[in-house]
């Protein structure tokens, strides 16, 4: 019995190893991948700058998206009908419209409203600005990503808040803990246990999702490698550069996510 345990499993392991070796050999030995070109462009200043922009777009999209999303989740859970309907409507609208369409919409907002003014609603304007000046491609991209992200974040945060046992709210209320403190100190940290894994997926999704802003000619990672291979024709090598960077970013984020999850899982066996 000792020798013949799980023979099928060993066959499977051997098969997988052979396939992996073949894949590695196909990647390394085929000169068409042009590994020396990959090495040459991986840390090129323009590529590194585009990685930084990708990160900036991700961070702003996530931070603003989750800030607005949390607000929407609280509105949605509020007993006030108007607030919860507005939040529902927002999620419905922004989950229905494709991100790329929304980005183009913000980018071209100037066509609809050439000037934007801020001031008393329906009253006098305090200041007035050309839409083009206010919403450049970067602002349009951040706005689009954040508004899109907020719709998904709202659902994630709402799910997290609902996952917390009702007895927790009750105990906090019975102890006389102020409302805001109840939310921030008692409910949200427990909701984070469900929020973080889902938010992690969203963040990793957004790292790659930022690539759609290439349509606005913003030099993020994906746009930048296209610019370079259009110039030198090394398509596969530069796509590989982009793939490697996306892998690095998402791996780093997965590691961070692991520790954040562990932090919010404290006290649970």
């Amino acid at each position: 019995m000792v020798t013949a345990r799980h023979p099928l499993r060993w066959v499977a392991v051997a098969g997988v190893l052979v396939l992996l070796a073949m894949a590695a050999s196909a990647l390394i030995t085929n000169p068409a991948w042009e590994w020396e070109i990959v090495g040459q462009y991986l840390f090129a200043p323009s590529v590194v700058r585009s990685v930084v922009l990708t990160l900036e777009l991700t961070v702003m999209g996530i931070v603003l998206g989750f800030a607005l999303g949390t607000l929407l989740a609280l509105m949605r859970l509020s007993p006030n009908r108007l607030l919860s309907s507005v939040a529902w409507g927002y999620v419905w609208l922004f989950r229905s419209v494709p991100l790329i369409l929304q980005l183009l919409f913000w980018y071209n907002l100037a066509l609809l409203y050439p000037r934007l003014s801020f001031g008393v609603p329906f009253g006098p304007a305090l200041f007035d600005i050309g839409t083009m000046d206010l919403i450049g491609p970067l602002t349009a991209a951040v706005l689009g990503l954040a508004l899109h992200q907020a719709a998904y974040a709202a659902e994630i945060v709402r799910g997290g808040l609902l996952s917390v046992d009702h007895g927790q709210r009750e105990a906090a209320a019975a102890l006389g803990i102020p409302r805001a403190r109840r939310l921030l100190r008692i409910i949200l940290p427990q909701a984070m246990r469900t929020i973080v894994p889902n938010a992690g997926n969203e963040i990793i999704g957004l790292v790659k999702g930022t690539s759609v802003v290439y349509i606005m000619a913003l030099p993020e990672l994906f746009y930048q490698v296209q610019v370079i291979y259009n110039r030198n024709g090394r398509v596969m090598a530069l796509l590989l550069v982009a793939a490697i960077w996306y892998l690095i970013l998402t791996t780093a984020l997965s590691i961070v996510q692991y520790y954040v999850e562990r932090y919010y899982g404290r006290g649970r066996a």
């Binding site: 927790q168 019975a174 102890l175 006389g176 427990q190 649970r268 066996a269």
Partner: protein, 282 residues
């Protein structure tokens, strides 16, 4: 309504630590600690409380018995305004709960004032409801820090004293999930006491526990009772009622059927419904 004696119990001389914690706040002028008059409460079509009267004097232990669904939890929850009453009044320490009376009109208190009233009333739940992401010490200091704005050193010293009192001094840094059910409920009692409440409400505090863990929780509650804390306890533990209660109240279908000293209600009930219930529980 109170069929029990109206004398305020003396504090046992040896029980200094918890005795010090009991504030007799707002009970001057001959008011009872808790006074419910004609309390009605419905959930939609379900008429859960149908005109409950109840008086609890300071320092007394009142045990509420009754079949499941008779409105015992709802009654306790109205006493700290977790549930608003539809009709009738709830007074704690002589003060109307959740409302201010101006002439003969009632004005609802602000959220902040309601929270302040709640800090005078401890609540112990059947399912403990400890905060799982906070340590035992943090569970005990949270409300004193955020609801009463006490200095941290003071809140932590009080937490240490209370943990000592419930026999869990060595668990201050543990997370609730690592404790047994009996230990968790003792922490929950200590957490309720950390507000130094004038009144502590218990909703079936031993019903979620394995039988061998019930005793340790009842011991802590008896100790509290001896120290003169005003307590209202919903429980099915007849032995506890017999030994500790000043008054036993029997509820059925949203009404107080009868109340009186334990010997009378438990051994010689006047009402058929009480007799039937006690017969089943014993």
């Amino acid at each position: 309504m109170s069929g029990g004696s109206r004398t305020v119990r003396d504090r046992a001389p040896g029980d200094r630590a918890l005795g010090d914690l009991v504030t007799g706040d707002g009970t001057a002028g001959g008011h009872a600690m808790v006074e419910l008059r004609g309390v009605h409460k419905s959930f939609g079509p379900l008429h859960v409380l149908r005109g409950v009267d109840l008086t609890v004097e300071q320092g007394q232990v009142t045990v509420i018995l009754g079949p499941s669904g008779s409105g015992k939890s709802t009654l306790l929850r109205t006493i700290n305004h977790l549930e608003k009453v539809d009709r009738g009044s709830v007074r704690v320490g002589g003060r109307l709960l959740g409302y201010r009376q101006v002439g003969d009109r009632l004005h609802e208190l602000s959220e902040r004032e309601i929270l302040r009233q709640r800090t005078q009333i401890g609540f112990v739940f059947q399912s403990f409801n400890l905060f799982p992401h906070l340590t035992v010490r943090q569970n005990l200091t949270e409300a004193p820090l955020s609801a009463q704005r006490r200095p941290r050193a003071e809140a932590e010293a009080l937490a240490a004293r209370l943990l000592e009192r419930v026999g869990l001094a060595d668990k201050a840094d543990a997370y609730p999930r690592t404790l047994s059910g009996g230990q968790q409920q003792r922490v929950a009692i200590a957490r309720a006491l950390a507000l130094e409440p004038a009144l502590v409400l218990f909703d079936e505090p031993t019903s979620a526990l394995d039988p061998e863990l019930v005793g340790e929780v009842l011991e802590v509650m008896k100790d509290l009772a001896r120290s003169g804390t005003t307590m209202i306890v919903v429980t099915h533990e007849i032995g506890f009622a017999r030994e500790v209660a000043d008054t036993v109240v029997f509820m059925d279908a949203g009404l107080v059927v009868e109340s009186g000293p334990p010997a009378q209600v438990l051994d010689d009930p006047r009402h058929e419904r009480t007799r039937a219930f006690i017969g089943k529980v014993l």
